[in-house]
């Protein structure tokens, strides 16, 4: 379960403080699919980053499965992400010097998992990229890169998957394919799925929706 307790984020823009997320309290129960929607600059990605522990809130607490992650240091957060959270970015963020297979294997290797090779191959098969395992990101199309990124997010079988506009950089067909895969994972594994999107159609697939505008919740929660 993900609990957000009065979480806010303020950054310094020039010399002025700028609040990009006003205090927000919400609970996302285990196994749910929640969409965060809103226009550009409304604070969606910031909220997702706070949930993943990629960023620390200015105030409030993020509690995941009873653990206040705002109290963890960088290494503690890294460990938490390795165990519990898979993240899919809009811009894929694969490591360019590693092949598709290696990109998928890395989180398992960091976690010290066994049978890394078999699992990485199985994940690539799951996203339909068995034949592209030894290609570098620069040799893959955008859709293929995002499928590798999805396989990587699922590598350690995390109970939570966070996706930041995963279809935003893809054509419609590939976007649909990725969305289909995310829903399948959510359904098959009972994964908690938090999806940031612009797309009302995608948001409609979710169990619940949080609508943000100018850093404030205007609907949902």
């Amino acid at each position: 379960m993900i609990e957000l307790r009065g979480v806010s984020k303020t950054v310094v823009s020039g010399s002025e403080p700028l609040t990009i997320l006003h205090p927000l309290t919400a609970t996302i129960p285990e196994g749910r699919f929640v969409a965060i929607v809103g226009p550009s600059g409304s604070g969606k990605s910031t909220l997702l980053g706070l949930i993943a522990g990629l960023d620390s809130p200015t105030s409030g607490a993020v509690v995941i499965d009873g653990v206040d992650i705002t109290a963890l240091d960088e290494d503690g957060l890294a460990r938490l992400r390795g165990e519990k959270i898979g993240f899919v970015f809009q811009f894929f963020h694969l490591i360019p010097s590693l092949t598709a297979y290696e990109n998928v294997a890395v989180p398992m290797e960091i976690a010290g998992a066994h049978d890394v090779a078999a699992r990485a191959r199985a994940l690539l098969e799951e996203v339909g990229l068995t034949g592209r395992a030894h290609h570098y990101p620069s040799q893959l199309s955008g859709g293929e890169q995002q499928r590798v990124a999805l396989a990587r997010a699922l590598a350690n079988n995390p109970p939570i998957v966070l996706a930041d506009e995963p279809t935003g950089n893809l054509d419609t067909a590939n976007g649909r394919l990725i969305m289909e895969m995310l829903r399948r994972v959510h359904a098959a594994r009972g994964t908690t799925l938090v999806l940031v999107t612009h797309d009302a159609e995608l948001a409609a697939m979710a169990d619940a929706t949080i609508v943000l505008r100018d850093g404030r919740v205007v609907e949902g929660v």
Partner: protein, 843 residues
């Protein structure tokens, strides 16, 4: 750990091409260390094993005077007491040799007269497999070095004249025990029978004969015998030393040579290290996103730093192994460079020694590691949130980084101390290196600032070239340092060489004396005068100066008091033998700086002392100095201090000058600086005719010496230029690497420029301008450094006026600029070739 290992492998696979240049820098440095250490260790092994035969005895007892009866009695008593097993005497001197067929040539040689038991150790080898036996020397036989055969155009079987006696050449010396390899010589060695020496007439008064007793004693008696002799002769001019002393001395020389030369290699490795530091910095900057991704999927900072440290160690090791291979290749070429020969150097088995290879590899890996640690710490500061939003990291003092810098600096001093085998030397070298680096960087920064106004020029390529020098993540500083250091070495050394040659040719120009006569006896002075004044011999101006050999045996003065010769000996070089003269005038190159010079003779002994000696040993006006002049004791009062211009010292280079009136009738010989004939044949004939009339007189031809000096200097210059070349090569490698590392920025910029309408030619012009400006700056930085270096060396080390050679500096700057521009543009060719759309899409 598996993750760290696998990631290190994968990263190396992806980045090795880009990092290759930098590890070649490490390889060049490691190769220098390994090659220098190995060669010296190999040579040392031969010298060490042959130390006893090098001095040809267990113990050497030597004097520059005739043995007195008491001295010989004491020595004989000691030898008997310590159970000497064998002894033999040799005598050495320099003299002139000429062929017996009246051809007008003569040559100065180093003559050695030996007895049948010579050598006690080692073997005298002759050319053509001829076996040495003393019978070859008996009855006026002579063995000579091959150089003499060439110089006099004589062969085995011919007759030569030594002094007043004729000798037959019976063989050619290949290798002789007791002769130091590579030492300075006044002429080729000539070996005669000790029994024939008196017949040459060279034993006259004032002759420069050195008598040496070679002794063999049981091993355990060597040191006690030497100690006893030291004690016996502490107040006399007899020296005693064992082969071990010479072994120790040679060993110390070798240690020093090995350690100091390897510091040159270390400097090159450190340059490579600077490159590693720079590449790591850029590498981490380029990898920020990947690092953020790794952190996002659960990697801790320590694990990621571990990945890159492992990578650096692996590449440092690879570079070091490459260095060992390079050293091996270079060493394999040495025998070809030396050529076939019979000298000791040719007997050395050249190869890479294990200890040199081990040290080289250790230094290579350590330096790579140390220089990459600080930039790698930046990994800690990479936030995974950068994947969501570009956000400047807050500027904060990073204490871990500062601590790391201190630890790394200390470790570098430790590595240097280990290599130099001296903490003091390490501190000096590190401080010197930092000083030079800071000066070069400071000069570079000033120059970058000086050219900054060019950024306002209307010429597009130049404007952008100047802007690029200070772009974020630029490599200007590291290129200026590395290439500037190379240019600094080469321009500096070339300027020094030009300066030295200028200095020597100044001395040899005009009508300055260019020949020197030694050992003219008093009764020969009138004859020599007539000879020199005879126009048929073609000599110019000359002087005949009386000289006596003297030693200081005591000083009684205001600041310095030495009771006995033993006290004087304790003051080092003051105890050496001095040539003294007497006269009642100052030479043109002298001036009095304290006291007053005398007029006319006086029965009271007075001396004038040279200024440097006065300052060094605190011998002042009013002090009394006690001399032993060929056994006669003279106590003279110091009445003046003279400053001598040593650059023109051939008529007045005397440290002690006596007032006439005391030594006029003492046993003395004469020397004569003179202007010899101009043409080479006339010079040869002059020497021959003079020696024919006065067989005991030796002639030193300065022109020949100048040629030798030129030869030695060109070799030294070549050696230093090779080192400078290595430094420059490292600089060039760093340059290529720096270009490769920052190419990603250029490729992107070029794509944007192309989209905005810039043609390939404009972009090429921009690159050319950028690297030419960089090259000019690096060359100028090197040139400024070289000016400082030549000034300091001229002023403090060589004691000669500083000269500026604009040609060398200008040439150096232009050559550096051309080189940097050429390499910069060539390494950036794909910046020109890449299609803009592909590049922009990839971004």
């Amino acid at each position: 750990m598996i993750f760290v290992l696998r990631m290190a492998l994968r990263e190396t696979r992806a980045a090795w091409r880009r990092l290759l240049f930098f590890f070649v820098c490490i390889a060049v440095g490691v190769a220098s260390i390994v090659a220098l250490r190995s060669v010296i260790q190999s040579v040392r092994a031969v010298f060490g094993s042959e130390a006893r035969s090098l001095v040809a005895a267990d113990v050497l007892i030597a004097t520059n005077r005739d043995w007195s009866r008491e001295t010989r009695d004491t020595i004989d008593r000691r030898l008997a007491l310590y159970g000497a097993l064998a002894q033999t005497e040799t005598a050495e001197t320099v003299t002139m040799v000429r062929p017996d067929d009246r051809r007008p040539v003569a040559r100065m040689v180093e003559l050695r007269a030996v007895q049948p038991a010579f050598p006690l150790y080692g073997e005298l080898t002759l050319d053509g497999g001829q076996k040495y036996s003393h019978a070859l020397l008996e009855n006026h036989g002579v063995l000579v070095r091959p150089e003499l055969l060439t110089a006099l155009d004589v062969k085995v079987g011919d007759k030569i004249l030594i002094g007043t006696s004729t000798f037959t050449i019976r063989g050619v010396i290949a290798n002789e025990p007791g002769r130091r390899v590579g030492g300075f010589t006044l002429g080729p060695r000539v070996l005669v029978d000790f029994a024939d020496l008196p017949s040459t007439g060279l034993l006259g008064l004032g002759s420069r004969l050195r008598r040496v007793l070679l002794v063999r004693v049981p091993d355990d008696r060597i040191d006690p015998l030497v100690d006893a002799l030291h004690n016996d002769f502490k107040d006399e001019f007899v020296s005693a030393r064992s082969y071990r002393g010479s072994d120790d001395e040679i060993g110390r020389d070798f240690d020093r040579a090995e350690n100091y030369l390897s510091l040159v290699g270390l400097v090159i490795v450190i340059l490579g290290g600077i490159a590693v530091s720079s590449v790591t910095r850029v590498f981490v900057l380029q990898k920020m996103r990947s690092i953020a991704v790794l952190k996002c999927v659960g990697a801790r900072s320590a694990q990621i730093i571990g990945v890159y440290v492992l990578q650096v160690v692996a590449l440092g090791l690879a570079g070091s192994l490459l260095g060992v291979a390079l050293a091996r290749g270079a060493i394999a070429l040495i025998p070809y460079a030396i050529g076939p020969g019979t000298s000791l150097l040719a007997d050395v088995h050249y190869g890479v020694t294990w200890s040199a290879a081990g040290q080289g590899i250790a230094v290579g890996v350590l330096v790579s590691l140390l220089f990459s640690v600080v930039p790698l710490l930046h990994v800690r500061l990479v936030k995974p949130s950068m994947l969501l939003r570009d956000e400047a990291a807050p500027r904060r003092i990073d204490w871990a980084r500062i601590v790391a810098m201190v630890v790394v600096s200390a470790a570098l001093v430790a590595v240097t101390a280990w290599q130099a085998a001296s903490l003091k030397a390490a501190l000096v070298v590190c401080a010197g290196f930092c000083g030079v680096a800071v000066a070069l960087l400071g000069a570079g920064q000033l120059l970058v600032r000086a050219v900054a106004p060019l950024a306002r020029t209307k010429f597009f390529p130049l404007r952008h070239a100047v802007l690029h020098l200070s772009r974020p993540g630029n490599q200007t500083r590291v290129i200026l340092l590395a290439v500037g250091l190379g240019a600094f070495f080469i321009i500096g050394v070339r300027s020094l060489q030009a300066s030295l040659l200028d200095e020597f040719s100044l001395q040899s120009s005009s009508d300055a004396p260019d020949m020197f006569l030694l050992d003219v006896q008093r009764q020969q002075t009138d004859g020599v005068r007539r000879f020199l004044e005879d126009p048929a011999h073609g000599a110019g101006a000359y002087q005949l100066i009386p000289v006596m050999r003297a030693r200081i045996t005591g000083v009684n003065g205001r600041e310095t008091t030495m009771e006995s010769y033993e006290d004087v000996r304790a003051r080092g070089s003051l105890a050496r033998e001095y040539e003294v003269t007497y006269r009642d005038h100052l030479e043109p190159n002298e001036k009095i700086v304290e006291g007053a010079f005398w007029h006319g003779p006086s029965p009271e002994p007075e001396i004038s002392v040279e200024k440097d000696l006065h300052e060094r040993f605190k011998i002042n006006v009013g002090d009394t100095v006690r001399f032993d002049i060929l056994g006669r004791v003279v106590s003279a009062r110091v009445t003046s201090i003279r400053e001598i211009d040593w650059r023109d010292s051939r008529s007045g280079g005397f440290v002690f000058v006596f007032r006439p009136g005391v030594l006029d009738n003492a046993p003395q010989t004469f020397i004569s600086p003179l202007r010899g004939p101009d043409r080479i044949e006339a010079r040869a004939r002059f020497q021959h005719d003079l020696v024919e009339q006065f067989p005991n007189v030796s002639v030193i031809d300065f022109r020949e010496i100048l040629e030798n000096v030129r030869d030695v200097m060109s070799k030294v210059t070549l050696a230093i230029t090779v080192v400078g070349g290595l430094v420059l090569a490292s600089g060039i490698l760093i340059l290529i690497g720096a270009v490769a590392m920052t190419k990603f920025q250029r490729v992107y910029e070029a794509a944007v420029f192309k989209t905005l309408g810039a043609g390939t030619r404009a972009i090429a012009a921009m690159l050319l301008c950028e690297y030419t400006v960089l090259g000019v700056l690096a060359g100028t930085v090197g040139s400024i450094g070289a000016v400082a270096l030549t000034w300091a060396v001229s002023r403090y080390a060589l004691d000669m006026p500083w000269r500026f050679f604009p040609g060398e500096h200008l040439g150096g700057i232009v050559a550096t600029a051309v080189l940097v521009a050429l390499i910069g543009v060539l390494s950036s060719l794909d910046v020109l070739r890449n299609k803009p759309l592909l590049t922009l899409r990839a971004e």
